[in-house]
Assembly symmetry: C2
Homo-oligomer: 473 residues x 2
């Protein structure tokens, strides 16, 4: 398990490097390297000996921690064994190729240049999902369960149907009550304010890196080697939000119980819980009126003066828009519902890759009432499918829901955060999250964790309630 | 073999990252990751199946290329099999720890803080060398052969004795005829001139990186992903030399026959040939009077005006000094002779680690006539022993010798380089090196390669001749 943890860390490093540091012509070599890493990890995770070790441990009284280690090891082993090593290696190779192809195609707004790599990724995902399909769940649910074990496609349909019903009227009211307000913050001032804000949250040079990449992401290469990326462009406030988003991912991995390091439990339990952590910091801290005072202070120090209320308005203003990562917090889940529908159709074979751009345009018209002017601002905007990640997008919407559920539980237990956040004091939040969510690592799956912390299952109401002030409700 | 090449590339990446990008607290995790990588590579290189494959190929008519692949595979396999996997992993771990310990100890000039890590590395090197000792060569020669297959410790004694005899009188004359002249080039101007000079040599952003690190080095992560580092300090010209030095290493790996990529032959054949490539660019191009005109032009563009003759004088001025990497080209080999003597004594058990600082001071007094004011400027100045590299230093002096031998052969064949270098045209040099040296990869070992290109074995005379103008001879 320690070796698998190390191989996973090396994969993180090689992927981070590819997105942040690698010269572009290194891509073919990197694809080979990632492929070999994936093949070796798959081999190690599926050697015959593991069967014997697990059998030996069957029925042993292992205590709570070791019991969880063995329970998850058995589950991982049983899933991994179903996937041929060559398929795993092909997938890794196709994911690396697909990312590079996506990067170039997006830059030149050329979907056709990306289509072959995407088709290959769809085929491989179908083959992979078929290896893992169990019961009535189908291929898509099998893919979903790689990111969120125990989640049902049906549960997603239920939650997303509720959102799709509740959101449009809320969006309409919010467009009037909290209209979008542009705020042209210069990139240089953003960069200084982001660095200063992250420093307040504990980001230092000795165990963190903050870099720039085309698509913000976080790499946890070691418990004390965390790397977040963001991007800066003149004339918006995106980096002020996305940097706290990535910080949420990073803090989760850093606050896992050190006793779980280099075991199979020593990482975030699921994508939706991971995303709940990033959304908690983005929606409930960065967009919090009290905390916005701190950030506007940092912008002021950086030479850009803005009233807190004006900055807050720019961070929460509601207006249907084309790009997911810069969407307002209310329309954001509608972007995810679109992707969920499309990837489900791609995997089920009901949508051909060649028809994706048109289907995207139809969906954007239906869900957000927008015309898509280019694929670069349409179906080429996200790296995920190019990286072979199907079944991943739902976690972004679930993250919004779970973040709101957790925030309610947090404030119910330790009181309103308003006064602390006005001073920029996030220590009580960090501690509460460490204790209730982070330290468990993979010991609790998504739904058991949410139930334990909030007392209920996945629900849309806390999210809708947290957003209703935007509509003046 | 392709997998081993990929694992080696990942090792390069993880090591580059550690020196250039990693936050310092990532070190313990990185040591685990490098250890796992080394253990896996060792396992793959020594699986029993290889024995059968090699036996099957025995006596087969394979053609020239495949014949070489199998010949070197057999040699590597036989050496690798002698080393227990756990020892290989321990070494990798100790090397990563040692590098971090060295970094901290050097910064605080605290040899005692480094001693335990160094002792561990010496012990492990002894154990490792004993696994590989053959015939009368002894443990040190076994270590040496990891870097330079076929080289004898006795041959080193012979060459270094000849140098130790010829150099001191030459140094005395050169101190008078070409005295050291400081030239305070601001770091910022160096950085601009280095970037511009490297661009002239073909260094672009699509397949290269140029970064800063404490100790300049080169990482070849892929055939089209080459990363050189340098360091800039106000008041010297080091970066103008060390960047061309690293370029020489980089060009070697980039010009290996693409047909050898991801085979066991697709890398530089030995450390001494590698160093001959860096020294060729450092001593025979960067320090060439004609090429200095190009570099002074780049400095001028960067806002620092200096006459070519003055810049040249600063690059070749002779004065015994404390630090190897900034030594003048004439006293440089004396630094290596010291390290050769000391590491031979450490490995043979004739020198205790605790006595190293004193032995270093004695040696510097004897060979260079200098008092060593601190260990940071003495035995803590190089990373090599901290990284477990014993038997590596000789290649630095051999590189000087071989570079001079190759340069003689090059000019004998394609004529004096003076006119081309004055225009900054290095293409004929690149082509000649590609054809005579680079493309072969590991197909020719050090001595056969030198004999083939120059018509003779290793010799000190071409180097001494190339340096004699410094003494006005």
């Amino acid at each position: 398990m320690a070796e698998l943890a190390d191989l996973s860390a090396l994969n993180m490093l090689a992927s981070w490097d590819q997105m942040v540091m690698m010269p572009s012509e290194g891509a073919p070599g990197r694809a080979h390297q990632l492929g070999t890493l994936a093949r070796l990890a798959h081999e190690r995770a599926t050697v015959d000996e593991i069967d014997g070790w697990l059998a030996d441990l069957d029925g042993e009284d292992l205590g709570e921690l070791d019991g969880d280690v063995v329970r998850i090891a058995r589950r991982d082993w049983e899933r991994a064994r179903r996937v041929p090593a060559e398929l795993a290696a092909e997938m890794s190779h196709a994911h690396a190729d697909g990312q590079e192809s996506w990067r170039l195609a997006r830059a030149s707004d050329d979907f056709a240049a990306f289509a072959p790599a995407l088709e290959r990724n769809v085929e491989l995902a179908q083959a992979y999902g078929e290896c893992l399909t169990e019961g009535e769940g189908g291929v898509y649910e099998a893919l979903l369960n790689d990111y969120d074990f125990g989640l049902r496609t049906e549960e997603l349909r239920r939650l997303f149907a509720a959102l799709a019903q509740a959101l449009p009227p809320l969006v309409e009211e919010a467009r009037a009550h909290s209209p979008r307000r542009d705020l042209a913050v210069p990139a240089a001032a953003q960069q200084i304010a982001v660095a200063a804000t992250l420093r307040r949250l504990g980001v230092d040079d000795t165990s963190w890196r903050v870099d720039v990449s085309a698509h913000p992401f976080t790499a946890w290469i070691g418990r004390r080697d965390t790397r977040v990326t963001t991007r800066y462009s003149d004339g918006d406030v995106e980096s002020l939000l996305s940097s706290l988003h990535e910080y949420g991912h990073a803090l989760y991995e850093r606050q896992i119980d050190p006793a779980l390091e280099r075991t199979n439990l020593g990482r975030g339990t699921s994508m939706s819980i991971h995303e709940s952590q990033s959304k908690l910091w983005e929606n409930h801290v960065a967009r919090n009126r009290a905390f916005v005072e701190v950030v506007s202070g940092e912008l002021d120090t950086a030479g850009f003066t803005v009233a807190p209320a004006e900055l807050h308005a720019a961070m929460v203003g509601v207006e249907p828009s084309l790009v997911r990562v810069s969407a307002d917090p209310l329309t954001y889940p509608l972007h995810i519902i679109l992707r969920f529908e499309l990837e489900l159709a791609l995997i089920d074979g009901e949508l051909a890759v060649a028809d994706l751009p048109a289907a995207w345009r139809d969906g954007m018209r239906r869900l957000l009432g927008l015309e898509v002017p280019s694929d670069a601002l349409g179906c080429l905007q996200d790296i995920h499918w190019g990286a072979g990640a199907f079944g991943y997008f739902p976690s972004y919407a679930l993250g919004c829901l779970i973040a709101a559920q957790l925030w309610d539980a947090l404030e119910a237990e330790i009181g309103s955060r308003e006064e602390d956040l006005r001073r920029g004091d996030v220590a009580p939040i960090q501690r509460w999250l460490a204790d209730r969510v982070h330290r468990h690592g993979r010991r609790l799956d998504t739904i058991p964790l949410v139930e334990r912390v909030t007392g209920s299952g996945l629900a849309v109401e806390p999210f809708l309630r947290s957003m209703s002030p935007l509509a003046g409700r």
